[in-house]
């Protein structure tokens, strides 16, 4: 991101922090696609993408005023998205303990025509083989987040992020290629 766009973003965030609704709306419009992609990569379910993205943006709207550095909006937003996805998956896991479903109800396939390419299907399958936290890690890298920002999101060191990312990428590559062949 260049300097001018950072300035524009910072200004927009500051306006949103003052309660300016059009600025808040602009922020949602600019990030909804990226957040949706991130949510899909982490949860693997396209039918819950909109609901989870909505929760992320509601959290954003309610707490943006407390963000101290408006320039840090993007990593902050993706931290919200990551935490919301992990919470969602955790709740789903808990629900499974109390309401056990049969395996055929657990893995309901995506609706017909929803996944229209083999590449996407292979990637979805490969991602599903990783732990949710590793999926979030890879999705954050795909979003262009730096190692330092990811370390901040995961509350760990840059070295730990690099090591974990290396392992996660290896795993993803293995599943991706084995699925393609």
């Amino acid at each position: 991101m260049d300097e001018s766009s950072t300035t524009t973003l910072g200004e927009r965030v500051r306006r949103a922090q003052r309660g300016d609704q059009p600025a808040m709306r602009e922020l949602i419009v600019s990030y909804q696609r990226r957040v949706a992609g991130f949510v899909y990569a982490v949860t693997g379910r396209s039918d819950s993408v909109e609901d989870i993205a909505q929760v992320v943006f509601i959290k954003m709207a309610r707490s943006v005023a407390r963000l101290k550095a408006p320039e840090q909006f993007e990593p902050w937003l993706f931290r919200l998205a990551r935490n919301t996805c992990i919470d969602h998956l955790r709740r789903q896991k808990l629900r499974r303990i109390f309401l056990p479903f049969a395996p055929e109800h657990e893995n309901v396939p995506e609706p017909a025509g929803a996944v229209d390419s083999e590449e996407l299907d292979a990637l979805r399958h490969a991602l599903s083989q990783l732990r949710p936290k590793d999926r979030a890690l890879i999705a954050l890298v795909q979003e262009g987040r730096s190692h330092a920002e990811i370390a901040d999101v995961f509350r760990t060191s840059v070295a730990a992020v690099k090591a974990r990312l290396h392992r996660a990428r290896e795993q993803l590559r293995q599943h991706y290629t084995s699925d393609e062949t």
Partner: protein, 90 residues
């Protein structure tokens, strides 16, 4: 472009196609809304249930410990009476 990158691009496209028109306005409306009364009543019901459970456990415990005390006292009286009988016999 690597095939993997193309897959990521498709993933983003597919995910954003799930966002229905009017999404930002729905988010803003929901963010402005106060917690629903349904949520408040849900919490009230949880607190009520917890209080009832606690009361039931306390009552059960009090009843049980009273019974135990009575049965201990009865056994103790029996032992005392037997000891008395034994003393008189001697």
């Amino acid at each position: 472009m690597k095939p993997e990158d193309e897959a990521w691009m498709r993933l983003r496209e597919h995910a954003s196609s799930r966002i229905t028109p009017g999404f930002p306005d729905r988010v803003l409306r929901a963010a402005r809304a106060k917690p629903s009364p349904l949520l408040v009543s849900h919490f009230a019901m949880c607190a009520g249930t917890a209080a009832l459970c606690l009361a039931a456990v306390a009552l059960f415990h009090a009843g049980n410990s009273g019974d135990d005390e009575a049965s201990n006292l009865a056994s103790w009286n029996e032992v005392a009476a037997q000891a008395n009988d034994l003393e008189q016999g001697l």
